[in-house]
């Protein structure tokens, strides 16, 4: 600071400098502290008093390190001595961040700079201390929110980016965007779109390019789903949303966007669709079961006619009472009826043809959980609660999942029907898996309906036996055949709490380390 004053008396000048120095100290936002070569405080300004909670008089003569918490407090003497002995500045002259300590013991983040007062020997020092709590908090908050954003993106499997079109900045990749696009965080920089373009599945590329062109041409936002092929060759589905920011004169400044990996969702949807297809297919098979009676009737008709014509002809011939016309017409009918029976069988074969049995290893609990999803709507519609009791051992079975699900669905359907007349509070179906005493996996469907009397129990599994108006009487008999074909058995007894319990077993598959 150079102040130009002409002809000012020495003493006046000294007093003026003193006042100006005092004004600087008083106005300073930072704490200012003067101390000697032994660290004894000689001066603390107003900001310092406010920051540390001391009065100046209290601290004059005390060691300056009372303003610091450990470990800084102990280190401070060493620093000072080191400087004086070796002339080596450690903290002197260099701003550094550390913790400072108030009179009440609380600590705060501070930035400290220390300077030596020129021309003093032994040396004296001036320290500037700035409270940076607010700045540090803001930095901390920012770091936290970034970390949370990264976690959120990881959970959602979503990344975001900013692409700059003015060439001044590199594109921004959020940490998780690397993962979504099959890269590792910190891989060498490449522009987002340059990287993405060759990854887009060839069949989706034209659509992708069109969406991008439209976005650049002025469409408000781009929102498409497409497939990408990762560097490791795996196929992923992404949901891509992007928007454009323009300058006032309409130039594209940047585009911001998100890429959401929706592969799992898509796979789940595909799986659900396939499951539905198989159920539909099995529905047809099950209808086939119900059609068995009708088909038997249809085959029986021509067979009956054939047998009867043949027997009638024999009798007529034996009695010698026949006419050629009569016998000729009967034989013609026999031929025609045989062809008719053949036609019925041909239709039946066509119908059954696309049925293949698919056995897979599956967790018994998983079968029940999937069935629950399928049956829930029906149950809710009838005011029936469904309770799952899954075996904690999570046993594996080898089964045609769809067939077994069909068996369970059929049992659930029966249970729901059996509870139509009981009060809603009682309407409950328990689905249970457990390992029985022989080590087989036992499934149970228990209801609290009207139960099964002994006479019905005896007939229950006979084909065409039914207690329902409009029932085919085939559900349980087909179910039993399915379970038997799997090497298990199906039976029922009375629920001690009222109602009926149906059980079936499937042989357990020993869990091997390679399977899961």
């Amino acid at each position: 600071m150079t102040v130009l004053r002409v002809a000012e008396p020495q003493e006046e000048r000294a007093q003026r400098l003193e006042r100006e120095f005092q004004a600087v100290l008083d106005a300073a936002v930072d704490a200012v502290v003067l101390f000697d070569h032994e660290g004894r405080i000689e001066l603390l300004n107003h900001a310092g008093e406010r920051m540390f909670g001391y009065n100046e008089e209290e601290v004059i003569g005390l060691k300056v390190n009372i303003l610091l918490p450990e470990p800084y407090r102990s280190q401070h003497d060493d620093y000072l001595r080191h400087y004086i002995d070796a002339g080596e500045p450690r903290i002197i002259g260099i701003g550094r961040e550390l913790s400072a300590k108030r009179r009440d013991g609380s600590e705060f983040s501070a930035e400290l700079a220390v300077g030596r007062v020129k021309g003093t020997e032994p040396p004296r020092f001036v320290g500037f201390i700035r409270d940076i709590t607010v700045r540090r908090n803001a930095e901390e908050a920012l770091r936290r929110s970034e970390a949370q954003l990264t976690i959120a993106q990881e959970i959602a499997n979503l990344g975001n980016y900013v692409v700059h079109f003015d060439g001044k900045f590199e594109d921004y990749w959020s940490p998780h965007l690397y993962r979504v696009l099959g890269r590792r965080y910190g891989d060498t920089y490449v522009s987002v779109y340059d990287y993405l373009e060759p990854m887009v599945h060839p069949a989706d590329r034209a659509r992708w390019q069109q969406a991008r062109d439209e976005l650049e041409a002025g469409v408000k936002s781009m929102d498409i789903e497409y497939r990408v092929i990762h560097p490791d060759g795996s196929l992923r589905y992404v949901h891509h949303i992007a928007q454009t920011t323009r300058s006032p004169d309409g130039r594209v400044l940047r585009q911001v966007g998100t890429l959401h990996d929706i592969t799992d969702r898509r796979r789940a949807e595909d799986e659900a669709r396939q499951m539905q297809d198989r159920i539909t297919h099995f529905g047809r098979i099950s209808t086939m079961g119900e059609m068995a009676a009708g088909i038997a009737h249809e085959v029986n008709q021509p067979l009956t006619a054939i047998a009867t014509y043949a027997q009638a002809c024999q009798r007529l011939i034996a009695a010698g009472e026949w006419t050629q016309e009569e016998i000729g017409s009967a034989l013609e009918q026999i031929g025609a009826q045989a062809l008719r029976a053949g036609e019925v069988i041909r239709r039946l074969r066509t119908f059954v043809k696309n049925r293949e049995v698919r056995r897979e290893q599956i967790e018994a609990n998983r079968i029940l959980e999937d069935v629950l999803t399928l049956a829930q709507t029906d149950a809710r519609h009838n005011g029936v609660r469904m309770v799952l009791e899954l075996s904690p051992q999570a046993p594996l079975v080898q089964a045609d999942t769809v067939q077994i699900q069909q068996v369970i669905l059929n049992l659930i359907r029966n249970s729901i029907d059996a509870m139509v007349d009981v009060p809603e509070a009682r309407r409950e179906i328990v689905l249970r898996t457990r390992i029985d005493t022989e080590g087989d996996v036992e499934f149970m469907v228990a209801d609290r309906g009207m139960g099964v009397d002994a006479a019905t129990m005896a007939e229950l599994f006979n084909p065409f036996f039914t207690t329902k108006p409009g029932g085919t009487g085939l559900g349980l008999s087909i179910s039993r055949s399915i379970v038997r074909a799997h090497g298990g058995k199906l039976w029922c007894n009375s629920n001690p709490g009222g109602g009926a319990r149906f059980f079936f077993t499937l042989p357990a598959v020993p869990a091997s380390p390679g399977s899961s």
Binding site: A292, A293, A296, H297, N300, Q301, P302, L303, T304, A305, I306, A307, T308, Y309, Q311, A312, C313, R315, L316, A319, E321, E326, A330, Q333, A336, Q337, R340, P463, F464, F465, T466, G473
Partner: protein, 208 residues
């Protein structure tokens, strides 16, 4: 309902919606010399049949439109006594049981041996004939009962309840001699050969 068991020839009525089965059955039954009529639906039969025609009904249990069971029910409502043999498929056992409970004489599963059907038909015809004879006899008894005077009717009722002439005389405030005369008239009009015969006839028509 007036039925004369003797003057009509028994007919086998076949009701089946399947033309081939119907035609084959007709040929078979013709081969054993039975009179046969065929109908393609239950309604057709119902429209054509009159109750006084003896025979039996061979009825397919499954038919479009009116089923065999429904036809049986309609005939029951008309107090028909025509015996019914149901023809069933192998899966129709519960329906067949229902039909039997509703009074069908028998059922036979398709396809069947000709002799089995013929035997069943013969049994049914015999039953029909017996039924109609019994029915005829009951009609005769009713007719004879109608010829009794009110006083004779009173005496009859007390006689079949096992009361002695003296008691009847007391009950009806008649002389014992008068009761004896009425009683002789009753025996004559009812064509009873003995007191036991008289009681049996009255029980037969359910008038005791």
């Amino acid at each position: 309902m007036r039925v004369n068991a003797t003057n009509a020839r028994a007919t086998i009525f076949i009701v089946d919606d399947d033309m081939a089965v119907r035609d084959a059955l007709k040929l078979l039954l013709r081969s054993v010399g039975q009179a046969v009529e065929t109908y393609g639906s239950a309604q057709e039969f119902l429209d054509a049949y009159s109750e006084d025609r003896p025979g039996c009904l061979v009825l397919d249990i499954r038919m479009p439109g009116m089923s065999g069971l429904e036809l049986q029910q309609k005939l029951n409502e008309k107090h028909s006594i025509l015996p019914i043999i149901f023809i069933t498929g192998h899966g129709d056992v519960p329906m067949a049981v229902e039909a039997m409970q509703a009074g069908a004489v028998d059922f036979i599963q398709k396809p069947f041996r000709d002799q089995d059907l013929i035997d069943r038909i013969n049994q049914a015809l015999e039953k029909d004939s017996n039924n109609r004879a019994a029915l005829g006899e009951r009609n005769d008894i009713r007719k004879r009962l109608e010829t009794l005077t009110p006083r004779e009717r009173e005496v009859l009722d007390l006689v079949v309840h096992g009361k002695a002439n003296k008691v009847i005389a007391g009950d009806l405030k008649l002389s014992q001699r008068t009761v004896e005369i009425h009683r002789a008239r009753v025996m004559e009009k009812m064509q009873a050969s003995s007191l036991a015969h008289l009681v049996r006839m009255v029980l037969e028509v359910g008038q005791a």
